[in-house]
C-alpha cells in the first residue's frame, strides 16, 4: 500500500477549505460553496469507508503507517491506525457531511467561512485520531480548539463570547500541562514516537505525574466532573452544526486519548488512579443526570446528559476489561450518532420557533409527526433501550465495571433509571400533551434535507443496536492486545 490514504484523509478537507477560501466573498456563490464543501467531505467519507474495508481487524499492529521526518531527530510526522482509532475516523467523516447539509437551515451569514471552519476541523480531528507521534497529536488536539472557538464565538447565540472564552480557557488550561508532559517524555525517552514508547515503556518514577498531566487535559475535554461546566454553555450558544461537531466528535478525542495514551503509556499510574476515575465518573453519571432532570433549555438538558454518558465512557475504559473498553468505544460511537441527532432535533424546532425552552413547546406530535417519530427513536437510544446502539455500549460498560468493582457498577446503574426519567420527560413536554402555544400550529414537518440527515443517523443507531458485530470485530483484537500489554507491563513493573 503506497497510496498515502491517511494523509489524504487529513489533507483533503483542508484542500477543500483552501478552495473555499479563495472563492469566497461572492454572495451568490453560497450554493456552490456548500456543494464544494459537501463534495469534499463526502469524498472523504467514502475514502474512510475504503480504509475500513482495507483494514485488517485480525492484528493489533498499526496499519497504513506513514512516516516522514519533520524536524530532524525530534519530530516525525507519523500516522497510522489500529482497531481503536479507525472507528473514530469513520465517525468524523460520517458526521461532517451531515453537518454541512444541515447548515442551510441554521447558518444564514458568512456561510463559506463557516464551512471552512468545519472542514479544517475535520482535518484536525482525523489528525488527532491517527497521529502516532505525541507532538503531532498535541498539535492536532489543540488546533481543533480554534475552529470550534470561532464557530461558537462568531455564529453563536447571545452569550457567545462568554461561552467561547470559557470553552477556550478551560480546555487550554488542561492542555498546557499535557505539553509539559510530552516534553518530559521526550527528555526521558528521547523520542515522542508512540510505537517506540509502547515498546520501551516509561519510567515508573515519572508515570504518576505524567498521567496527571495528560489527565488534566483529557478530563476537561471529556468533560469529566467537576470540569464540565463549559460544555452546557458552549452547547447552548453554539449553532446547531457546531453543537453536533462538539458533541459527536470533539468530546471523543479525550476518550480516545485515555485509551491510547493513559492506558497505553502509563499502566502503573492508570492502575493507581483508577479509583479517582471511578469516583469522578460515578459522580458525573449521578449528579449530571439529576441536573439534566431539571433543565428548562433543551440544549442544556442534552449537554448535561452528554456529561453523564461520557461518565460511562471513562468508567468503562478504566475497568481494563474487554467488555468495559469495547463498551466504551461503542458508547462513544453511539453517543456520537445519538447526541448529534438530538442536537439536530433541537435545531429543527429552533429554526422554526427560535426557542430552545422546553415550555415553548408541547403537543406538536400531530403537527410534525415525522419529526416526532425520529425524535422518539433518538430519545430511546439516549436512554439505552435494547435494540439501539446506546444499549450495547452502556450494557457492556456496566458488565465490565461489575467484574471490576461491584459498588461502582451498582451506583452507575442508578444513572440508567434517572436517564429514562429525564429523556422521557423531555420528550413528553416537547412533543406530547395539549397544544397550548398556538404559534406552534404554523410549524412544518421535516424538509427533505432534515429528513435525510436524521435518517442517516437513525439507520446506524438501529443497525448497530441489533448487530454491533462490525464494530466489535474491528476493535476486538486491538483491545484484547491492549489489555494484555497493560497487564504484562503492570506485572513486570515497566
Amino acid at each position: 500500500m503506497n497510496f498515502p490514504i491517511l494523509s489524504s484523509l487529513i489533507l483533503l478537507p483542508s484542500i477543500g477549505a483552501l478552495f473555499l477560501f479563495f472563492t469566497r466573498g461572492n454572495k451568490k456563490n453560497n450554493f456552490t460553496t456548500k456543494y464544494v464543501a459537501l463534495f469534499t467531505s463526502a469524498v472523504n467519507f467514502f475514502l474512510s469507508i475504503y480504509l475500513w474495508i482495507l483494514f485488517d481487524p485480525s492484528t493489533s499492529n498499526f496499519q497504513f503507517v506513514e512516516e516522514r521526518i519533520w524536524i530532524e531527530d525530534f519530530i516525525n510526522y507519523k500516522v497510522g491506525v489500529d482497531g481503536i482509532s479507525i472507528l473514530f475516523i469513520l465517525l468524523t467523516t460520517f458526521i461532517t457531511p451531515l453537518c454541512i447539509i444541515s447548515v442551510n437551515n441554521s447558518i444564514k451569514e458568512r456561510l463559506s467561512e463557516f464551512l471552512i471552519a468545519v472542514l479544517i476541523m475535520e482535518s484536525f480531528m482525523i489528525g488527532v485520531f491517527c497521529s502516532l507521534d505525541l507532538v503531532i497529536f498535541y498539535l492536532f488536539f489543540e488546533a481543533g480548539l480554534i475552529p470550534m472557538f470561532l464557530i461558537i464565538g462568531i455564529w453563536g447565540g447571545a452569550r457567545r463570547v462568554y461561552s467561547a472564552f470559557k470553552f477556550f480557557l478551560y480546555t487550554l488550561l488542561g492542555s498546557v500541562l499535557m505539553l509539559v508532559a510530552i516534553i518530559t517524555i521526550y527528555w526521558l525517552n528521547g523520542t515522542t514516537d508512540v510505537v517506540e514508547l509502547y515498546n520501551s515503556g516509561i519510567d515508573i518514577k515519572y508515570q504518576n505525574l505524567l498521567w496527571l498531566a495528560f489527565f488534566s487535559s483529557f478530563a476537561v475535554k471529556t468533560p469529566m466532573w467537576p470540569v464540565h461546566t463549559w460544555l452546557p454553555d458552549a452547547h447552548v450558544e453554539a449553532p446547531t452544526a457546531g453543537s453536533v461537531l462538539l458533541a459527536a466528535i470533539l468530546l471523543k478525542m479525550a476518550g480516545y486519548g485515555f485509551i491510547r495514551f493513559s492506558l497505553g503509556l502509563f499502566p502503573t499510574a492508570s492502575e493507581i488512579f483508577t479509583p479517582l476515575i471511578y469516583t469522578l465518573s460515578v459522580i458525573a453519571i449521578i449528579f449530571t443526570s439529576f441536573i439534566a432532570l431539571m433543565q428548562e433549555d433543551m440544549k442544556k438538558l442534552i449537554a448535561y446528559s452528554s456529561v453523564a454518558h461520557m461518565g460511562y465512557v471513562t468508567l468503562g475504559i478504566f475497568t481494563i476489561q474487554q467488555q468495559g473498553i469495547e463498551g466504551s468505544i461503542i458508547q462513544m460511537i453511539s453517543h456520537g450518532l445519538v447526541s448529534a441527532a438530538l442536537f439536530l432535533c433541537v435545531g429543527v424546532v429552533y429554526d422554526r420557533m427560535h426557542s430552545r425552552l422546553i415550555n415553548t413547546y408541547g403537543g406538536i406530535v400531530s403537527i410534525i409527526p415525522k419529526y416526532s417519530i425520529l425524535f422518539m427513536l433518538f430519545t430511546l437510544a439516549a436512554l439505552g433501550l435494547p435494540g439501539t446502539s446506546g444499549f450495547v455500549g452502556e450494557f457492556l460498560i456496566l458488565m465490565g465495571a461489575f467484574k471490576d468493582n461491584f459498588l461502582v457498577a451498582v451506583i452507575a446503574s442508578i444513572g440508567v433509571i434517572i436517564g429514562a426519567a429525564y429523556m422521557l420527560w423531555l420528550y413528553k413536554r416537547v412533543v406530547f400533551g395539549k397544544l397550548v402555544n398556538t404559534n406552534l400550529r404554523q410549524m412544518f414537518d421535516l424538509n427533505r434535507s432534515e429528513l435525510f440527515i436524521l435518517s442517516c443517523l437513525a439507520v446506524p443507531t438501529l443497525f448497530f443496536g441489533f448487530y454491533p458485530d462490525p464494530l466489535i470485530n474491528t476493535i476486538e483484537v486491538s483491545i484484547s492486545d491492549l489489555i494484555n500489554q497493560y497487564n504484562f507491563k503492570l506485572a513486570s513493573q515497566i
Binding site: 461546566t229 463549559w230 467488555q323 469495547e326 458488565m399 461491584f406 429514562a420 413528553k428 454491533p468
Partner: protein, 637 residues
C-alpha cells in the same frame, strides 16, 4: 414455521406503522389481526407438537453481541415452558387485535394503535423464547416500551402521559435490579445462556460475595436481584404503583398487556430460572412473602375503588401475587397453570369492562352505572363467567389453579407456607367480594347515569363480542382441560420435562378435606353476602365505611403509596437536581473556577493598571525609592 411466529407480528407492526397511511385504516386492522392470528395458529401447532411429540428446539437466528467471552445470540428456544407462553401470548393478542377493530372504531389513529399492539406481541415473544438473559432483557424492555407507547396512546391527556412515564421509570427501577442480576450471572459463570448457567449452578451454591463489607450468598443474591426485575414488571408491592395508573391506556391494551401477558413476565422469569431459585431458600421465602402481601394488599384496595378498570387492575396485581407465592413455595408448574388460566379470564374481564365502558360512552366510574344487565345481555353473561372463573367458583378455570396454589402452600409445611395458605384463603374471599361488588354495581340496581339515557346504552358490535366469547370458553374450561397436563399429580411430571427444575419433588399428599372445601365454600357464600351488601342493603356498606373512616380512606388512597413515593423520591430528586445545578455547578464550580479566576485576574489587572500612570515623576520617584533601598541593602551588608 417457528421463526414466523415471531416474525409475523413484527412484519404486521412495520406494515401498519409505516404504511398505515397508504393502505388505509381498515386494511391495517385486517393485516395486523390476520398476521397475528396466523402466528397464534402456528403457536398452537407448536404447543401440540410439544405435548404430543416432546418437541424441543433451540434455534439460533444470528449473533447479537460477542465481546470477549460474552456471546449472545438472537435465538428461539422452544420447550414446554416457552410453548405455553407462546400460546397464551399469541392467542390473547390475536383476540385483542380483533376486539380493537370494534373498540377503536372512533379513534383517528387506528394504524398506529394496531402497530403498537403487534410490536408488543413481537417483543413479548422475543422475551419468552429467548435462550439467554440478554435477549430476555431485550424483550423485557421492549414490552416496557410498547406499554409506554400504549398507556400514553391518547397523547393529549396529561394523565395518560404521566402514567406512561411512571410505568417506564418504575419498570426501570426493577430493570436496574434485573440488569445487576445479569451482570452478576456473567461475573460468576462467564456466560449468559440459560443452559450453561443452569448446568453450573450447583457448583457455586456455597460461594459468597462481599459487598459493602457484607457477605452474601451468590445464589441468593442472583435470585433476589432477578426478582427485583420481576417485581417491577409484574407490579408486586412496592413497585406496583404504575399498574393502576396504566389503566389510562385504551382498554384492549389493559387486557393484553396489563393483564394477560406482559405483567406475567415476572412470573415467567422466576419459573424459567427455577434451576437457580431452587437453590435459594431465602429468595423463595422472600418471593412467598412479597407475593402474599401483594395478593392481600391489592385485594383490600380493590374493595373500595370506584373505577371499573382500576378494580380489575388491582385484581390483576393480586392474582399475580398468587402466582408469585406459588413459585415461592416451589410449585412452579402451578404458578404457570394459574398464569395460563388467568390470561383467559382476566382478559375476558378487561375486554368485558371495555364493552361496558363503550356502552357508557367512556364512563368508567361504577357509581354512574347500574341496572343495565338487560341492555347488555351478552357482555353481562360473559362478565359473569369471567367473575366466576376469577373468584375460583367450583369447576371453572380459576378454581383449579387458585385452589392448587393454596393447597401447595399448605403442603409446603413451613411457616411461610401456612401463613401464605391462610392469607391466600382470606384473599380469595376478598377477591370474591370485590368482584361481585363490581358486577352488582355495574349491571344491577338502579340506573345511575345522568348524562346518558338508559336507551342510549347499547350492546357492543359482533367484532367485539366474538373475542369475548372465545375467551369465555377458555375461562370456563381451560382449568378442567389442562389440569392434568400442567399440574398432574400422577408420578413424574412429563409435560414440563427439564424446563422446570425441582430440587425436591413436589409433595403428592392431599391436604385434609376441610381445607379443600374451605375456599370454595367461602367463595360461594360471598355471592349472597355481596348481593346483600352492595345491592339489597346499600346503607350497611356505607355505614361500615363511615364507622371505619380512616381505614376506608387508607384503602381508597391505595395505602398512600403514591403520596409516599412522591415525598420520598420524586420531590427530593427534583430538589437535588436544582441544588446540584444552581448551587453546585453555578455557584461553586463556576464561581471558584473560570468565573472566579477571571474576575480575580480582572481585579489584579485593574491594580496593575494603576502603576502605569504615564507620569514621569511617579516613575522617577519609584526608581529613586528602589535605588535607595538597594543602596541601603548593600551598605548594611
Amino acid at each position: 414455521m417457528e421463526i414466523s411466529i415471531i416474525a409475523l407480528p413484527l412484519i404486521a407492526s412495520i406494515i401498519s406503522g409505516f404504511f398505515g397511511k397508504f393502505i388505509g385504516d381498515r386494511n391495517s386492522e385486517i393485516i395486523t389481526s390476520l398476521l397475528v392470528s396466523i402466528s397464534a395458529i402456528f403457536s398452537s401447532l407448536v404447543f401440540y407438537e410439544v405435548i404430543i411429540n416432546q418437541y424441543q428446539e433451540n434455534i439460533i437466528i444470528a449473533t447479537w453481541i460477542s465481546s470477549g467471552s460474552l456471546e449472545v445470540n438472537w435465538s428461539m428456544k422452544i420447550d414446554p415452558l416457552s410453548s405455553v407462553m407462546l400460546v397464551v401470548v399469541t392467542s390473547v393478542s390475536a383476540l385483542v387485535h380483533i376486539y380493537s377493530i370494534g373498540y377503536m372504531s372512533h379513534d383517528p389513529h387506528k394504524p398506529r394503535f394496531m402497530a403498537y399492539l403487534s410490536l408488543f406481541t413481537f417483543a413479548m415473544l422475543m422475551l419468552v423464547t429467548s435462550d439467554n438473559f440478554i435477549q430476555l432483557f431485550f424483550g423485557w424492555e421492549g414490552v416496557g416500551l410498547c406499554s409506554y407507547f400504549l398507556i400514553g396512546f391518547w397523547f393529549k391527556k396529561e394523565s395518560a402521559n404521566k402514567a406512561a412515564i411512571k410505568a417506564f421509570v418504575v419498570n426501570r427501577v426493577g430493570d436496574f435490579g434485573f440488569a445487576l442480576g445479569i451482570f452478576l450471572i456473567f461475573y460468576l459463570f462467564g456466560t449468559v445462556n440459560y443452559s450453561e448457567v443452569f448446568n453450573q449452578i450447583s457448583n457455586i451454591t456455597d460461594k459468597n460475595l462481599l459487598f459493602l463489607g457484607i457477605k452474601f450468598n451468590s445464589v441468593d443474591l442472583i435470585c433476589l436481584l432477578l426478582f427485583i426485575g420481576a417485581m417491577g414488571k409484574s407490579a408486586q408491592i412496592l413497585l406496583h404503583t404504575w399498574l393502576p395508573d396504566a389503566m389510562e391506556g385504551p382498554t384492549p391494551v389493559s387486557a393484553l398487556i396489563h393483564a394477560a401477558t406482559m405483567v406475567t413476565a415476572g412470573v415467567f422469569l422466576v419459573v424459567r430460572c427455577s434451576p437457580i431459585y431452587e437453590y435459594s431458600e431465602l429468595a423463595l421465602n422472600v418471593i412467598t412473602v412479597v407475593g402474599m402481601s401483594t395478593a392481600f394488599f391489592a385485594a383490600t384496595v380493590a374493595l373500595v375503588q370506584n373505577d371499573i378498570k382500576k378494580i380489575i387492575a388491582y385484581s390483576t396485581c393480586s392474582q399475580l401475587g398468587y402466582m408469585f407465592f406459588a413459585t415461592g413455595v416451589g410449585a412452579y408448574n402451578v404458578a404457570m397453570f394459574h398464569l395460563f388460566t388467568h390470561a383467559f379470564f382476566k382478559a375476558l374481564l378487561f375486554l368485558g369492562s371495555g364493552s361496558v365502558i363503550h356502552a357508557f360512552k367512556d364512563e368508567q366510574n361504577i357509581n354512574y352505572m347500574g341496572g343495565v344487565w338487560k341492555k347488555l345481555p351478552y357482555t353481562y353473561s360473559l362478565m359473569i363467567i369471567g367473575t366466576l372463573a376469577l373468584t375460583g367458583f367450583p369447576f371453572l378455570s380459576g378454581f383449579y389453579s387458585k385452589d392448587a396454589i393454596i393447597e401447595f402452600a399448605y403442603l409446603r409445611g413451613n411457616t411461610a407456607g401456612y401463613y401464605a395458605a391462610g392469607i391466600g384463603i382470606f384473599t380469595a374471599f376478598l377477591t370474591s367480594i370485590y368482584s361481585w361488588r363490581l358486577i352488582f354495581k355495574t349491571f344491577h340496581g338502579e340506573y345511575n347515569n345522568k348524562e346518558i339515557k338508559l336507551d342510549e346504552t347499547h350492546e357492543s358490535p359482533i367484532v367485539m363480542l366474538i373475542p369475548l366469547f372465545l375467551l369465555s370458553i377458555g375461562a370456563l374450561f381451560a382449568g378442567f382441560l389442562f389440569k392434568e397436563l400442567f399440574i398432574g399429580y400422577e408420578g413424574q411430571n412429563n409435560f414440563w420435562r427439564d424446563s422446570i427444575f425441582f430440587l425436591k419433588p413436589l409433595s403428592t399428599d392431599h391436604p385434609p378435606l376441610w381445607f379443600l372445601l374451605l375456599t370454595p365454600i367461602l367463595v360461594t357464600l360471598s355471592i349472597p353476602l355481596s348481593y346483600y351488601l352492595f345491592l339489597k342493603n346499600k346503607s350497611l356498606s356505607e355505614q361500615i365505611a363511615n364507622i371505619n373512616k380512616p381505614l376506608y380512606h387508607f384503602l381508597l388512597n391505595k395505602w398512600y403509596f403514591d403520596e409516599l413515593y412522591d415525598v420520598l423520591f420524586v420531590k427530593p430528586s427534583k430538589k437535588l437536581g436544582l441544588f446540584l445545578w444552581k448551587f453546585f455547578d453555578i455557584k461553586i464550580i463556576d464561581g471558584f473556577g473560570p468565573d472566579g479566576i477571571s474576575t480575580m485576574i480582572k481585579k489584579f489587572s485593574v491594580r496593575a493598571n494603576k502603576f502605569q500612570s504615564g507620569y514621569i515623576y511617579q516613575y522617577a520617584f519609584v526608581m529613586l525609592l528602589g535605588f535607595s533601598a538597594l543602596l541601603t541593602f548593600l551598605i548594611v551588608k
